[in-house]
């Protein structure tokens, strides 16, 4: 039976899709929002340190499940591995209503002006597709502000002289500091750095009808027990549903995007929660599945007019897969500093995001979220045995004295770091799976190594008596900060979507998530995904002509 035609079908209810759903539904469009995962609530918070989105030896708490969703990873030596979501190499992002925003650490960064103009700022880098964005920080500024106020951000960036101009302060004050913060703040000042309170999509005071953070130790990777973490699942998606114009269907896995003989998209085919194949016709299709799954869906949507998949005439879909190269430093203080005050991360510097001599870009550095004991197991100094009496002694004596600073180095995009569809391996529904391959640019590793040194200097100044670096080696980088696979640009031959996230040669197909990021900033990407979703939705609604998209 044919389903009722909708104006828009949105694939993926994460950071991008949730916002688009609300914006379109409020503008009067009929919207079907599809999500492959389930809809969880704060009561699903199990605080299970072996089964969550951050540490997952026993599985991912919020999807996808290991059994039905394999991927293929090709390592730098060219060997193929079939990988599962909870294991290494999968580069997972949560599959649930809210997507990553349901269980994230919730840092809410605006990228800096230079982050949108990396090529103009630094020039060409051999071996990299480093490029400028077709939008500027100024274009996105109003939408950053909208995301901060509608989804809810706490923090205080007034101490950061490097932040880009902003019209309005954040809606909520920062959470009070923990012990690590209190040590790192004066240390940064002594080093001539500019520490400030990390902006976070987390209630520090009651906001939007939800309570303040209770400061437990299970934050990043976990659902928030008191619903103080702000994601699309508890803000814009409920608003979209309240308009009565939006229908949310969970556990729906999209097979392909359908096209007609005029080269426009007509809807999608998907498997519902009972594995029944359904067809949803729509005037507009919005793809918001995250950088890996969005590229996979476009590539799997092949037809006579689009033999290589949608938006892929010039072979750019799936290219430039990137994430963040996290490096930093650990240290031990002479005294006990563990105060069990979540979320842990609270203080940051962006002194090193740009202006590092001889380097392209850099990273924001912040103190790390609370380390649960199982996570601390591998945070050991070089030379320490990873098992036996010495390791146990270290755990016992170091756990409450540890201090950690790290940051996401902005990566140099690589044309050959990519998502393809695998010719052999299929998922539970018979859909070809994502095949990931590629490597980091050597300069990315070089920058990240310098960043680790800066982090180490900071914790030394804070009084650590023993310090060691956490460095990064080669290998593909994507993970929860995955981006870049449907690059935004003005030139249709070197990009996939235009500045409004519209696929160049298909005017009623949009990609609205981190796939469109040209570069990924030296910051957690979620607020930029949200701002871009507002920006693209605004354009889409303006272009919408009655029952048709012109």
């Amino acid at each position: 039976m044919a389903l009722k035609r909708a104006n828009a079908v949105i694939v993926g209810a994460g950071a991008g899709g949730g916002i688009v759903a609300k914006e379109l539904a409020e503008a009067g469009l009929s919207v079907v929002l599809l999500e492959r995962g389930k809809w969880y609530s704060p009561f699903d918070c199990r605080k299970d340190d072996l089964r969550n989105q951050r540490t997952s030896p026993l599985g991912q708490a919020f999807g996808p499940d290991d059994e039905r969703n394999p991927r293929v990873l090709v390592d730098p030596q060219g060997r193929e591995h079939v990988v599962v979501a909870s294991g290494p190499g999968y580069h997972n992002n949560a599959a649930c209503v809210g997507g990553g925003t349901f269980s994230y650490g919730a840092m809410a960064w605006r990228y800096l002006e230079k982050d949108f103009r990396m090529r103009s700022t630094y020039g060409r880098l051999p071996g990299s597709t480093l490029e400028d964005w077709p939008v500027s920080y100024q274009d996105l500024e109003p939408y950053y502000e909208k995301a901060e106020w509608e989804i809810g951000v706490s923090g205080d960036v007034s101490g950061d002289p490097f932040h880009a101009p902003r019209r309005r302060a954040l809606p909520m004050p920062p959470l009070p500091p923990n012990r690590e913060y209190e040590l790192l703040y004066p240390a940064a000042k002594r080093l001539g750095l500019h520490p400030f309170d990390i902006p976070m999509l987390r209630n520090s005071v009651p906001y939007n009808g939800r309570p303040a953070c209770m400061r437990c130790r299970w934050c990043v990777g976990f659902a928030c027990e008191v619903d103080a973490k702000c994601g699309t699942h508890n803000t814009v998606i409920p608003k979209a549903l309240a308009t009565k114009n939006c229908e949310l269907r969970t556990e729906c896995v999209v097979k392909e995007i359908l096209t007609n003989e005029h080269g426009r998209v007509t809807g999608i085919a998907y498997f519902d929660a009972h594995d029944q194949l359904q067809q949803q016709d729509a005037d507009i299709v919005v793809v918001s599945c995250g950088a890996i799954e969005s590229a996979r869906l476009l590539l799997n949507s092949k037809s006579r007019f689009f033999p290589d998949g949608l938006g892929n005439r010039h072979d750019w879909v799936g290219r430039n897969l990137q994430g963040h190269t996290y490096t930093g430093a650990f240290g031990l203080m002479p005294m006990d500093i563990y105060d069990d005050l979540g979320p842990g991360a609270g203080i940051a510097i962006s002194d090193y995001n740009h202006g590092n001599p001889g380097l392209i870009g850099g990273a924001m550095l912040a103190n790390e979220f609370i380390r649960l004991p199982i996570q601390f197991v591998s945070m050991i100094p070089p030379g320490l045995p990873r098992w036996g009496k010495a390791h146990k002694d270290f755990m016992r004596s170091a756990y409450r004295r540890a201090i950690a600073v790290q940051g996401p180095t902005q990566e140099m995009p690589m044309f050959d770091s990519r998502v393809q569809v695998d010719p052999v391996v299929k998922d539970h529904w018979g859909i070809p799976v994502a095949r990931l391959s590629g490597d980091k640019h050597p300069h990315t590793i070089e920058v990240s190594t310098v960043m680790a040194g800066k982090a180490e200097a900071w914790i030394k100044e804070a009084g650590a008596i023993q310090t060691w670096k956490k460095l990064s080696g080669p290998g593909l980088s994507a993970g929860q900060h995955q981006a870049g696979t449907c690059r935004m640009g003005n030139d249709p031959t070197t990009s996939v979507v235009n500045r409004y996230c519209q696929v160049h040669d298909i005017d009623n197909l949009f990609v609205i998530d981190a796939s469109v990021h040209v570069t990924n900033g030296g910051f957690n990407p979620v607020l930029t995904i949200m701002a871009m979703a507002y920006h693209a939705s605004n354009h889409l609604v303006k272009q919408w002509k009655g029952s048709r998209f012109a």
């Binding site: 605080k47 299970d48 340190d49 072996l50 030896p57 026993l58 599985g59 290991d66 909870s86 205080d156 004050p173 920062p174 009070p176 500091p177 520090s204 005071v205 009651p206 303040a212 209770m214 400061r215 437990c216 130790r217 006990d336 563990y338 069990d340 005050l341 004991p373 199982i374 601390f376 197991v377 990873r386 098992w387 036996g388 009496k389 390791h391 146990k392 755990m395 016992r396 756990y399 409450r400």
Partner: protein
């Protein structure tokens, strides 16, 4: 089906034979030894492993069975006795040999990872008996909640009393 078919004959374990469990317990006891605090054996790490081997680690059942046998074989080759019958110093020597053997190292790495999970992970999964590792590292229990030391009213006004 008779109940005995669910377990191994003569073994109180649901997956391991009594011999396998004895070897594994001895290996884990070297990975995290007992001192003033319980080690892996006392924390129920083998119990953790066994529960997971009947659930999400099911695909690893054969790996475990073969790996345990190989460690015992290595032990017999080196010291003439099964692993659990060796004195501690000799057990360590055998494990260092296992660790440096490219054929056996993947299984040993797996055991180290699973031992850490069973010892430092949440007790709900069968290990970390009585939260022994959490007491050892000094993790407060029960966790305290809602310890905001400052007044919401001040925060909402934008006053940051700690500055």
């Amino acid at each position: 089906m008779p109940i005995a078919a669910c377990g191994r004959r003569g073994s109180p374990w649901r997956f391991f034979t009594a011999e396998e469990a004895r070897t594994l317990e001895a290996v884990c006891a070297q990975i995290i030894p007992e001192d003033q605090d319980a080690g892996a054996a006392g924390a129920g790490v083998v119990h953790y492993m066994e529960i997971q081997l009947t659930r999400c680690y099911k695909p690893l059942q054969k790996t475990y069975r073969r790996g345990i046998a190989q460690i015992d074989q290595e032990s017999i080759d080196v010291a003439g006795k099964p692993f659990a019958d060796l004195p501690a110093a000799q057990q360590l020597a055998v494990l260092h040999k296992v660790e440096s053997n490219p054929e056996l190292k993947p299984f040993f790495d797996l055991l180290v990872a699973h031992t850490m999970q069973g010892f430092y992970g949440d007790p709900r999964h069968g290990g970390n008996r009585d939260r022994v590792s959490w007491k050892m590292v000094g993790l407060p229990y029960p966790p305290l909640r809602g310890r905001l030391r400052y007044d919401f009213a001040d925060l909402a006004k934008g006053e940051l009393p700690w500055r």
